[in-house]
């Protein structure tokens, strides 16, 4: 009887495991099937590097370069903002803050992670967008920069918590060794702790920023959604994700436009996958 139970449980778990892989494969195949269809009419080269995205003109022009650049610009901006703040915050929490401050900060960061992105987007729309508009004297505050700032907020919790873990897992003996040689706290942090935790911190940054590439809602709400090649971070942009979200509803099923949106999905998938795998490599290198 006991053996039988054991057998059932074992098989159930096996089925769960297989099912999850099965669904992932199914989703991926579906994505491929729908997405690759677009390449019957456009070449891969033209799709990725085409400068014009006019999906409903006749004939449709399906170049996603402006969208790729939009995503990259917003993400890059977010990285530039969130990396120093996030890593700095992690160093403060892990190495400097007294216990009580540490707890408060950690709770705050978790709270930040719990805010739904649509709420962040909404708040950004009514506060950040007018601010950017006024500070830079722009016709509109719906710019890549606004998106970057918002995304930086979203990347921060991931960066802080993973980088903090990385710093904690640096052997205490390194710190002792540095102090015993007469190093100050700051010297110890920047000459020993940060290099020792560098692969974990890099992984933290990639995971945090990687989350930004897939982020849709907030970005769609505050970047202006102009599918043109951006010439500065103060121009409106449209990201890959926002394009799918905004246009999927109106694309005719089976049309080139529809297939192109799926192909954008593949591009996103590939980018996210690459970022995650790289981050994973760094994390494992640490162990």
């Amino acid at each position: 009887m006991r053996k039988f139970k054991e057998f059932i449980v074992e098989k159930l778990i096996l089925i769960c495991g297989i099912a999850s892989i099965f669904f992932v494969i199914l989703i991926f195949l579906f994505l491929l099937k729908e997405g690759l269809a677009v390449f019957k009419t456009v070449s891969l080269f033209k799709f990725l590097l085409g400068k014009n995205w006019y999906p409903i003109s006749e004939p449709p022009q399906l170049g996603i370069l402006p969208l790729i650049l939009g995503s990259l610009l917003v993400t890059l901006g977010a990285a530039i903002i969130s990396i120093p703040i996030g890593v700095g915050c992690a160093v403060y929490i892990a190495e400097v803050a007294p216990t009580q401050t540490k707890e408060i900060l950690k709770a705050g960061i978790e709270l930040l992670a719990a805010i739904p992105s649509v709420v962040l987007g909404f708040i950004g729309m009514v506060t950040l967008v007018p601010l950017v508009k006024n500070v830079f004297h722009l016709p509109t505050g719906l710019t890549a920069l606004s998106g970057s700032i918002m995304l930086a907020f979203m990347a921060m919790p991931t960066i802080v918590s993973i980088a903090e873990d990385a710093l904690y897992s640096v052997p205490k003996s390194y710190k002792e060794g540095a102090f015993a040689l007469g190093a100050t706290r700051w010297q110890t942090i920047h000459r020993v702790m940060l290099p020792a935790a560098s692969s974990g911190i890099l992984a933290a940054v990639m995971l945090g920023v990687g989350r930004g590439i897939g982020e849709t809602m907030a970005v769609m709400m505050i970047t202006g959604n102009a599918a043109v090649i951006p010439h500065s971070i103060l121009a409106p942009v449209r990201t890959l994700t926002a394009t799918i979200a905004a246009e999927m509803g109106e694309a005719v099923v089976g049309s080139e436009h529809y297939f192109a949106l799926f192909a954008i999905g593949i591009v996103l998938f590939v980018i996210s996958f690459a970022v995650n795998v790289t981050a994973d490599l760094f994390l494992h290198k640490r162990q």
Binding site: Y174, G177, L181
Partner: protein, 251 residues
């Protein structure tokens, strides 16, 4: 000449009295061993001399510790300067996850106002030579220090301390991670180094204390039971408890 003198040194971890009225003196150019059972306060005593206990919350200490005649226990002590003069080698070799070269010049980089490449190269060569690693490692200076053998790592850690030009070397069970041959060679190195340094070694091994030290102190439950010439401590201890310990009758 007495390099370090402690007078009525007491130390508490919170409510726990870990060092009780320790008064003794450590001579220059000699190796002094501190022995005693686990938990008797050997490491605690050692870490008083470079104020490494400062990081522990709830720590309280009183009495005096004079190094070259200056009390280092008061608040005015410049910890960076103190730790430059009083170097420490740990139980488990703890080279930084940097290259061999960067490990050795670490002290130079943090202490010098400006560094010049020739000085650094010189520091590396001299320090590695004095721990007898130069020939082994001179072609591997840019390799990660984590790739070295345990013995090489411990030698490197000694070199890293020597590079800062301290006068005192504190060694907390420096050989406990090493095999007997490596231990012998490190002891050999210590004998060589004592010409230039005041060395204090904490060890669990009575044989090691007998082999390497000139003076020895026996501690028990935070008290210094007996202190004297190593030969005398090991052949004719005055205190019954010392005798019990060195003859292995002590738990």
């Amino acid at each position: 000449m007495a390099k370090i003198i402690t007078k009525d040194l007491n130390l508490w971890y919170g409510g726990f009295h870990a060092l009780k009225n320790i008064s003794l003196s450590f001579e220059s150019n000699r190796i002094t061993a501190i022995i005693g059972p686990s938990g008797c306060g050997k490491s605690t005593l050692l870490r008083v001399f470079n104020r490494m206990n400062d990081f522990i919350e709830g720590l309280r200490q009183d009495g005096e510790v004079l190094i070259d005649g200056v009390n280092i226990l008061n608040g005015k002590t410049d910890l960076v300067a103190l730790r430059k003069r009083v170097g420490m080698v740990f139980q488990r070799p703890n080279p930084f996850p940097l290259s061999v070269y960067e490990n050795i010049v670490f002290g130079e980089r943090i202490h010098a106002d400006s560094v010049n490449q020739d000085t650094l190269d010189e520091v590396v060569e001299n320090s590695l030579k004095s721990v007898l690693l130069w020939d082994e490692l001179k072609d591997k200076l840019n390799k990660s220090a984590l790739m070295l053998s345990l013995e090489q790592k411990q030698r490197l850690c000694i070199a890293r301390v020597i590079a800062v030009k301290p006068d005192v070397l504190l060694m907390d069970e420096p050989c406990s991670a090493l095999d007997p041959q490596a231990t012998m060679r490190i002891e050999e190195l210590m004998r060589e180094l004592k010409n230039n340094y005041t060395i204090i070694i904490v060890t669990h091994s009575m044989q090691q204390a007998a082999r390497v030290s000139d003076d020895a102190g026996f501690m028990l439950l935070g008290e210094l039971i007996e202190f004297g010439n190593t030969d005398q401590i090991f052949t004719a201890p005055h205190d019954k408890r010392t005798e019990d310990y060195i003859t292995g009758r002590y738990g």
